[in-house]
C-alpha cells in the first residue's frame, strides 16, 4: 500500500483535508469492481452504491465517481461539457479532480489519459489507453417503452427487445423517422441494447470497434456500464430505414472554419445564429493550424 499514490494522497490530504481523489478507499474499490464487471459484460448495467458528491445529483456525479475511482497522480485529465472544456461545470469538475489527486489538467484531446464528458465524444479519435467517461442521466434505454424497472431488467436478461423495436417502428410510421436525436439506442456486442448517454447521432459510429475504453456512469440512477475496446456497437435500424447522422450541409464553424465537425448553433446579439464547433479542443487545433491526424 505504501506506494507513490499513498504518499501523494497523504500530501494532498494535507492540502485539502480530503482523502486522495476525494472518495474513501472502500468506495473506490467498490466502483472499480463494478467497472470491471461492466467491462466484462459490455452494455450491461451494473448497479453500484453511488455516493454523495460535492456536486448535485444530475450534474455528473456518476461520471465523476468513475473518474475519481480511476485517476492517479500521473494522469492527464480532461473534462468537457457538450464538447467545451471551458464551461463552468467542466472547469469545476476538472479543478476538483486535479486538486484532490495532483493529476494534470489538459485541454488537448490527444494529451488526455482520462476524459470525463457530458453529451459528446471528441472529434479527435481516441487511442488505445485512453478512457472516455460519459455522464449519464438515464441509463435505461427501455425506460420509455417499459415503466417497470423489474420488467425492463427481465427484458434485457432475455434479450426481449420487441418493445423497443416497436417504439422505433411507431416513430417511423407516425413521424417518418426515428425521433431519437441525442442518445440514439445502440446494440452492444449483439446482446444488450444500451443508452449511449445523450450524445448526438454524429458520435454514435465512434463507439463501434474503438481503440479506447468507454465507461458510462449514472450517479442518480446508480448504474455503471461499459463499452470495451473493439466492441461491436451498432445503432438500432430497420433495413429500409438506415441510421443516419446529422448533416451540416454547407455550414462551417464561424471560428475555425471547420466543415467536418459537429456544429452547434450559437446565438448572437442581433438574434441571428451562427454555427460553431461543439468540440472546443478540435476548434482550437484547427484554428492554430495543428492538423488533427487521427479522425474517427
Amino acid at each position: 500500500m505504501a506506494n507513490v499514490s499513498t504518499l501523494l494522497a497523504d500530501r494532498r490530504a494535507e492540502f485539502t483535508g480530503y482523502s486522495f481523489a476525494f472518495l474513501d478507499d472502500m468506495a473506490k474499490r467498490e466502483i472499480r469492481r463494478s467497472i470491471l464487471k461492466a467491462i466484462a459484460i459490455p452494455g450491461h448495467q451494473v448497479p453500484f452504491g453511488s455516493r454523495e458528491m460535492p456536486i448535485a445529483r444530475g450534474w455528473g456525479t456518476g461520471g465523476l465517481q468513475i473518474t475519481l475511482a480511476l485517476v492517479g497522480p500521473t494522469d492527464a485529465i480532461k473534462v468537457i461539457d457538450q464538447g467545451d472544456d471551458a464551461s463552468v461545470n467542466a472547469a469545476n469538475l476538472r479543478r476538483l479532480i486535479a486538486k484532490t489527486t495532483g493529476a494534470t489538467e489538459v485541454y488537448a484531446t490527444h494529451e488526455a489519459t482520462l476524459i470525463q464528458t457530458r453529451h459528446r465524444i471528441p472529434e479527435e479519435r481516441l487511442g488505445a489507453g485512453q478512457i472516455l467517461i460519459l455522464q449519464v442521466p438515464v441509463p435505461e434505454p427501455l425506460r420509455f417503452v417499459e415503466r417497470s424497472v423489474a420488467a425492463a431488467r427481465a427484458m434485457h436478461a432475455e434479450r426481449d427487445y420487441a418493445q423497443m423495436w416497436l417504439a422505433l417502428y411507431e416513430d417511423i410510421v407516425r413521424r417518418g423517422e426515428v425521433s431519437a436525436g441525442a442518445g440514439y439506442p445502440v446494440m452492444v456486442n449483439h446482446r444488450f441494447i444500451m443508452a449511449p448517454s445523450p450524445i448526438p447521432r454524429w458520435d454514435i459510429p465512434k463507439l463501434h470497434h474503438a481503440q479506447s475504453l468507454f465507461l458510462f456512469g449514472a450517479g442518480r440512477e446508480k448504474r455503471i456500464y461499459a463499452v470495451p475496446p473493439f466492441t461491436d456497437v451498432r445503432p438500432l435500424e430497420f433495413e429500409d430505414f438506415p441510421f443516419d447522422t446529422e448533416h451540416f450541409d454547407g455550414k462551417s464553424c464561424i471560428r475555425c472554419g471547420a466543415t467536418d465537425s459537429y456544429l452547434t448553433e450559437s446565438p448572437r446579439e442581433d438574434g441571428s445564429k451562427v454555427a460553431v464547433c461543439s468540440d472546443s479542443s478540435y476548434c482550437d487545433d484547427t484554428l492554430s493550424g495543428r492538423k488533427v491526424v487521427n479522425r474517427w
Binding site: R159, Q163, W165, E170, V173, E239, D240, F241
Partner: protein, 263 residues
C-alpha cells in the same frame, strides 16, 4: 388408410386449483384432449366451468397446478410447454401460440397504433424491414376489415368490434400454429358479433388455422368448431363431434345445455 397425423397439441390431466388462505377453489381438473392440425376445437360450458382457465393455462397467463401440454413444435412434443422458462414462453407466444381475449383491451397495447399492435408480433419474430412489416400488417388488418386509413390511429378510440378485429389481426399475424379464442363475441353487440364470427370463419376457411374456441354460446360453437368439449364444474363431462354433441348429447348436463338454447 389414414395418414398417421400427429396431434398439434396434446393436453394431459390439466389441473388448476386456486388457493386463498386455506380455501381451495378448483378451476379445472384432469382435463385431457388432443387438437389436430387444421382443426377447431370448442370448449363449451357455463361461466365458472373452468373453460377459460384451460386457455389461460395454455397461453401461460396462469400457471397450472399440475398436468402437461405437449406442442408438436416444442422440443418435438417431448416436453410439456409448462416446463418452458420465461424466454421459451416468450418464443412460444411470438411464434407458436396466440390468444384473442374476450376483452380486446387485454390483448391490445392501447398506447400503440393499430398497425403497431399487429407489427409487434412481427418485430418479436425479428422482422426488420419497415415496408415488409407494414405490408403484412395492412394485409391482416384488411383481412379483418379494419379500414387502412385507421391503421396509424390508436385503438383506444376504436369501437369494441373494431378493437376485436385489430386483436384478431394481431393474433393471426406471423401465422401462429395455434390460436386460442376466449369468448370473442361476448362483449359485443349482436350485430357486431355476426361480423366477427364471419371473419373468424373465413380465416379458418382460407388459412386452415388450428384453434381452440371457448364460448358459452352454442351458436358460436356450431358455426366455428369441428369438435367440442363440454365442461362443468371444472371437469370435461363429454366430448365429441360438434353436430353429435348438439344433436345427440349423452351427458345429462349437455342435454340440459342444448335444450336450454333450443327452447
Amino acid at each position: 388408410m389414414v395418414e398417421p397425423l400427429e396431434p398439434l397439441l396434446r393436453v394431459r390431466n390439466l389441473t388448476k386449483v386456486y388457493t386463498s388462505g386455506n380455501r381451495r377453489v378448483l378451476a379445472c381438473e384432469d382435463v385431457s384432449f388432443d387438437v389436430y392440425p387444421g382443426e377447431v376445437l370448442g370448449i363449451v360450458g357455463e361461466s365458472g366451468s373452468g373453460k377459460s382457465t384451460v386457455l389461460q393455462c395454455l397461453y401461460q397467463d396462469v400457471a397450472p397446478t399440475s398436468g402437461q401440454a405437449f406442442l408438436a413444435s416444442y422440443h418435438n412434443g417431448e416436453h410439456s410447454i409448462f416446463e418452458a422458462d420465461r424466454r421459451e414462453r416468450r418464443e412460444l407466444r411470438a411464434h407458436q401460440i396466440s390468444m384473442v381475449y374476450q376483452n380486446p383491451r387485454m390483448g391490445l397495447n392501447l398506447m400503440v397504433t393499430a398497425g403497431g399492435n399487429v407489427a409487434g408480433r412481427l418485430l418479436a419474430a425479428d422482422w426488420r424491414r419497415v415496408s415488409d412489416i407494414r405490408d403484412k400488417a395492412s394485409d391482416y388488418l384488411q383481412r379483418t376489415e379494419v379500414p387502412l386509413d385507421r391503421m396509424d390511429d390508436f385503438p383506444a378510440f376504436f369501437s369494441g368490434g373494431m378493437q376485436q378485429r385489430v386483436q384478431i389481426a394481431k393474433a393471426l399475424a406471423n401465422g401462429p400454429e395455434l390460436v386460442l379464442l376466449d369468448e370473442l363475441t361476448t362483449g359485443l353487440d349482436v350485430s357486431v358479433q355476426a361480423g366477427v364470427l364471419d371473419l373468424v370463419r373465413d380465416i379458418q376457411h382460407t388459412t386452415g388455422m388450428t384453434a381452440i374456441i371457448v364460448s358459452h354460446d352454442l351458436g358460436v360453437i356450431r358455426l366455428l368448431t369441428d369438435r367440442v368439449l363440454v365442461m362443468k364444474d371444472g371437469h370435461v363431462v363429454e366430448s365429441g363431434l360438434t353436430d353429435q354433441i348438439l344433436e345427440d348429447p349423452q351427458h345429462p348436463y349437455t342435454q340440459l345445455l342444448v335444450n336450454c338454447v333450443t327452447a
